[in-house]
């Protein structure tokens, strides 16, 4: 299978347990998320058990175990964003895109993730879509921001 070749390339750098996290990071970058078949392949190639790999991966917030939309929207919930009303922004986003929880939208274009702090508090409330930041948001600006990605 074609994706096997892709991930086998990444897995070939595995030597011992300490290589697991960088490998998971690279796999996620390539595949978008860590699925059962991906985990199984890691299992086959490293000799670690599925539960061990899953145990390591779930310890870190950065790993995702569900498919992700084409565009990832990170909503900052740091203190500054919180006090400047990011809850309302998130609500508006969810309404606009009809996303529930961490599932991607039906058209597969977006998924939404809550983040502890994006580190640009001066722009609060802030969201990040893929690698681009949008600051000083208001609920009624959301539609416009999203339009670029549709």
């Amino acid at each position: 299978m074609i994706w096997h070749i892709k991930i086998d390339e990444i897995l070939s750098s595995y030597k011992d347990r300490s290589d697991l996290i960088p490998i998971l990071q690279r796999l996620q970058e390539k595949m978008g998320w860590l699925s059962t078949p991906v985990l199984q392949r890691i299992e086959e190639k490293t000799g670690l058990s599925g539960a061990e790999i899953f145990g390591v991966a779930t310890f870190y917030a950065q790993f995702r175990f569900k498919p992700q939309g084409k565009n990832l929207i990170k909503v900052c919930h740091g203190t500054a964003c919180h006090v400047s009303g990011v809850e309302k922004i998130e609500e508006a986003l969810r309404q606009e895109l009809a996303v529930k929880g961490d599932e991607p939208t039906d058209d597969g274009l977006f998924s939404l993730e809550r983040i502890a702090c994006l580190g640009c508090c001066a722009l609060a409330p802030v969201i990040m879509i893929n690698k681009k930041c949008y600051g000083k948001l208001e609920p009624n600006k959301i539609q416009k921001v999203i339009k670029d990605y549709k």
Binding site: L48, S49, G50, I53, F54, G55, T58
Partner: protein, 680 residues
Amino acid sequence: MITLNIDGKEIEIEDGATILEATEKAGANVPTLCYDKRLAPFGACRICLVELEGTRTKFTPSCTTPATNGMVVRTTSPALIKARRTILELLLINHPLDCPVCDKAGECKLQDLVYEYGLSENRFKKDMSNLPIDYKSPLIERNLNRCILCGKCARICDEIQDVAEVSFVNRGMKAKIGTDFDRSLDCEFCGQCIDICPVGALTSKLFKFKARVWELTDKDIICPYCNVGCNLTARSRDGRILKIDAKESGVNEGGVCVKGHFGFDYIYAEDRLTQPLIKNNGKLIPSSWDEAFNLMVSKFSMLKGQVGMLVSPRLTNEEIYTAKEFMNNLLEGHIACAEGLEHLSALSETGLSLGELKEIKNSDCIMLFACLSETNPVAGIAINYAVKRKEANLIVISPIKIKESKLAKDELLIAPGQEITIINEIMAEIIRQNWQDSAFINDCTEGFEPLKEQVTRYTEEGSGVSKEAILSAARLYVESKNPCIILSSPTPDLVRVAGSLLLLKGKTRLHLLGKRSNEVGAFDILGDRDRAFISSARGLFLIGSELPNEALQNKEFIVVSDLYLTETASMADVVLPATASLEKKGTFTNFEGRIQQTDTASNPPCGAKSDLEIISQIALKMGFELPKFKEIEKREFKKGNFLPTQAKDIKISSDYPLRQSRFHSGKISQRSKALMEVSK
């Protein structure tokens, strides 16, 4: 040795021991939850805190802290009690107190500690944990709401069983024990995680809501399956076994496999025989024991000298011995074990003695020719221990990848059936390099020259393994101090060559595992006798044994004693309902030659008799009292014999491992519903 003071008592203990071990020696009772002596120290629960005098931190977990010279330790004090109470309160924050419906209640460590420390209220309040209960996995139910995150299940599964089916997942408040993506268990189902779980988070489905533990009667038994001879505790109520736990003492040291743990229900199969049957007009008709005995006495007296007997290698020593005396003294006929014991007589020819399990644990180089996780799983545990804890080198020689392959330093994938060739090739390499132990060979063995002559002729790669790989394995083997070779139910020729390989290194024991609980006992009593008498005998007495239908033709009188109406039994003139090993007292000899006592753990079906009773009662009817079984001395190594052996035409038998399965199954395991549920 170091000396430390525990609760005012001076204790001497070896260097490297933990404080907990010292407190045990001092007889102090320090509570533990996450500690188990078989596992590496973990230090998760903190309940084992002790006070160290003269230190600033004062409290330290005793299970992870090494004891040092001059330490002054207190195992109990008001402050310690307060600390332990707080730990318990924290554990109880989200632990459901559903003891009335928890199968662990009565032997739950948490329940006992909460009782001991007298906690009736909790200062901390939070919602009870509310994780879905795993009802779907076979044999094991997982209610992680009861879990206290001691990690013992995950650790035993990894460190001891080498499966790592479960692990800690998530972190912080969401941390739990889980599988990848919360799937059901699909593991070896050894159930050791159930035994080790201090609370009721992991329980046996077979035992679910069957009884409260204090209603159970415990009996010490020997596992009825393979001949590792695990020491187990059968726990029954009203004469019916409800669960089996591993015993911490004995060969297995707490180890157990799916067969020993869950496979006991074969004795409750619906098709158990419950009364004697006599053939009348071609049909088997229920009869009384007296009728059956009388018929046997009259027929046997008529056929004296012409009756042959086969006994199963699952009978107790007492039964096999009695059967032999019965045949020698009364029927004057031949007796043999129903299944070939040629591998054991081959071992006698080599002069080697039987290896022990603890030698595997202490070995630094293990050469393995069988997938033990399938045939003798608890012996496999010893390999894991040697490799993972003691850094032993494992050499796996097999036609397929097996579970143990991933622990192997060297893995030699041979062409099917080439075990003998590869050993010859390894020996050739050793002799070529002059690596053999010549002093030992001169003093204690015979036949080295012919062996040398035969094996050094090996040049091409008949085993399908490259020269370099063979050389590397040979080097690992000769450079080790305590190598061992492990075979399971091998051919006699394989025993002969493996024996020679051991002798080259000056080693005198072979680890020879078998599938049936009392093979070694049967061999010690009967030897490996020729079964040719079967075809000429006019009468047959088959105890727990089966024969192909052709062998049963034209016999004048056939008696079969068995648990079930097997195909052979249905051809018999008299069928006797026998009892199973879980239903009788007696001894079994395990693969090490250790004679072990087993006890009656379950009431036999009413109407069944043990084979010991059957034979002694017929003997009495014939006017003879049979002598009692005397223990047989263990064979010790005296002189070794090199037995040059060449691979003959290779016949691949039906149970030759070309595919790996969860466990090896036979007549009895196929009647266990529990085992069939997880057989692959």
